[in-house]
Symmetry: C2
Subunit: 194 residues, 2 copies
């Protein structure tokens, strides 16, 4: 067996193990996240979401599922990824601080009816934490989707979902799965046939 085959097989085993471990407690929290979105939506609120690198990609993926569709043909749902306007991002990074790129956008856009989801595999990226703290200060519902390092943030925000792993790619893969579950639950709660 070549090292490449071993890399594939070991990665698969690790992913399945982390999925199963996430289902011992953490995965159920996406039901809370779904309920928080529905509550926010019913009060006229929206989802604001952000992260770095792969988690920026996730924020945009999530916004697309809400605004366009996940499974169902239904009316558009409010969600905005704060990772896409490169004029806003570079001007804040250049004039103030890269750690403020989400915080300043949150201050511009968030109301107390909103739900704000930060995504960080380390659970520690300063720009994500600053963004969530700004959202908390504005009275929004705050959630952090993280890896094992997110546990340390559990007292800070309304909901912390911490995938029990420290391996960035595996955490990201489980994040995408949890984000899809979140979409599925919201669509079913709002538009599903009971």
């Amino acid at each position: 067996m070549s090292w490449k085959r071993d890399l594939l097989n070991n990665s698969r085993d690790a992913l399945i193990e982390i999925i199963n471990r996430t289902f011992n407690g953490e995965a159920q929290k996406v039901i809370e996240l779904g309920k928080a979105y529905v509550n926010s939506f019913r009060r006229g609120g929206k989802l604001l979401t952000f992260g770095n690198g792969g988690s920026a990609a996730d924020a945009q993926h999530l916004a697309a599922e809400f605004v366009n569709r996940f499974r169902l043909d239904r009316s558009p749902l409010p969600a905005i990824a704060l990772t896409t306007d490169t004029s806003v991002l570079t001007s804040i990074g250049n004039d103030y601080d890269f750690n403020d790129i989400f915080k300043k956008q949150i201050e511009a856009l968030t109301t107390s009816n909103d739900i704000v989801l930060g995504i960080s595999t380390s659970g520690q990226s300063p720009n994500v934490i600053h963004g969530l703290k700004a959202a908390k200060a504005r009275g929004a519902y705050t959630a952090l989707l993280a890896g094992a390092g997110g546990k340390a943030m559990e007292d800070e925000f309304d909901l912390v979902i911490a995938v029990p792993s420290t391996e960035t790619p595996r955490i990201q893969e489980v994040h995408l799965f949890l984000e899809h579950l979140f979409c599925d639950i919201v669509e079913q709660m709002l538009f599903g046939e009971e």
Copy 2:
């Protein structure tokens, strides 16, 4: 048990089953994809990648892993996501045809040394297929990452990886896993300690 718990558990079972099915044949093809990238890189080529919705997010995620880093601190690797310049995307969509948004960029940017990766869960999105065909016409190495529907395209491109499922979110989750394996193999081939 509530329907929400059932949704979670059934989705987990489906994901694990699809991961395992993908490992019966398709997953190994990421080794070919890794080798194709390394070949392209050694000839001065680059990765161009694109898709719609969640697959656009994947294209950007991949470009970030290559340009910045996956696991290793190493020199930047050439990769461009063709999903990010909204001026280019909207002008092509508005003046020509939405189905040409990747094709025209490919015609502007691709050389025969490049590797071009289209991502489509259906394996059928016209803008993705048109983009890949334009890349093939320019002599680039062409790869399609798809769901079960990609099988029908196997004779068209150099490599087709078809995750054996028709469920968009589950296909996307397995795609992200395969994309990470692709990054891992490339980093190890180019920078790993033998």
